[in-house]
Amino acid sequence: MFYEDYQLPLTLIGNTKIIDTDFALKSDICEHRQSFAKPSFIATTEISSGSSNWAVLESIGEFELVDVNIDDRRSDFITSLSNVWIEGDKSGFVSYIEGVTQAVKESKQISVLGLIEEIRKDKGISYSEQIANQLYQLNDDVLDDYPDNDLISSESLIDFGQFLKKNSRLSLPSITINPRGNIMIQWEPTANQHFSIEFTGQGEVIFVVFAPDLTVPSKVNRVSGKSTIYSLMSHVQSYNVDNWISIKEKAA
């Protein structure tokens, strides 16, 4: 299971309160990760930032760190967590900041790997195995350059998975990671036929389409814009993109 494979022990001291686990799990975690293991207790620090919350699972004598933030703005949260702890002069916490930050990074990497596995297992996604393998390789390449595991956006990865699931007839795209850590996919059968999508998080995408004009095919339309993972494909329908990025039916 997700947690059992990745134990991140951390002794948490100070201002921590225990809350009922079932409610938090049902309302927050399960929305994104339905196969989540159910712990018997969940503890949430009283320090939070906006919609970000940090939670820890009780383990034997220790706490296991787990992210339950539905909005997944972890890098913002790291900053705010450190600031709060330092500015609040909670000396008992300060010595743990470094360890917590490291644990956050490790937790983020776990999250990325877990999300890749979810894509691999998802039968509703075409080429799920190949896509997961590509993502693993990309993650390895990213770790070579960013050993602190901090680049790939798990929010972008979640949106990518949802987009694939919603559009199950797409042929296999090229996948890359851009400097912002966002997943980018693209198809470019010819220089005049290009469709790329950057998953920027929160369900939003930036897209680029190059497509021959349907009325004057010698001319090429080139557009870029913002959309959502839900309506992007209908947004670009007028460029006939579907025709060259969908899986081709075999002739009878």
Partner: protein, 140 residues
Amino acid sequence: MNDVIPDSNHVSRYCKPFMVVNGEPQPAAFHLREDEEYLSVDWLEFLEEVKGRCDFTAITEALADRRFKASKRGKHAVFNVGELIEYVKDKAPDNRKLEALHVPRNKKDPHSGVYNFNHEENNMFGVLIAQAIKEILKTQ
């Protein structure tokens, strides 16, 4: 004042492995970070002048001189400056004219920049720049 790189000259851009697919640099390799004003490249004719050569090892060494380690699985994308500017100008919806300027950190540094687009325009210009690649070199 930064020197303008002549149209007949060439620049190279190091492309990280996670921005390369099947040996070919993808548009993500030409995106600016939010704090970047220009796309970092190396001026190859200048490199040849100071190092006596401008092959892939010389480019990788130039990066190392700036304490930047090029991965074995990365690539150097090479552009002819004039062709790059003309290609983007011809295809960009607003006929944008990019500029290539020398931005050295010391007298022997070939570090340069491709100017005149910003990070909010990454997606469109990343595609156009990727399509203007003249040659792809290995790093090691």
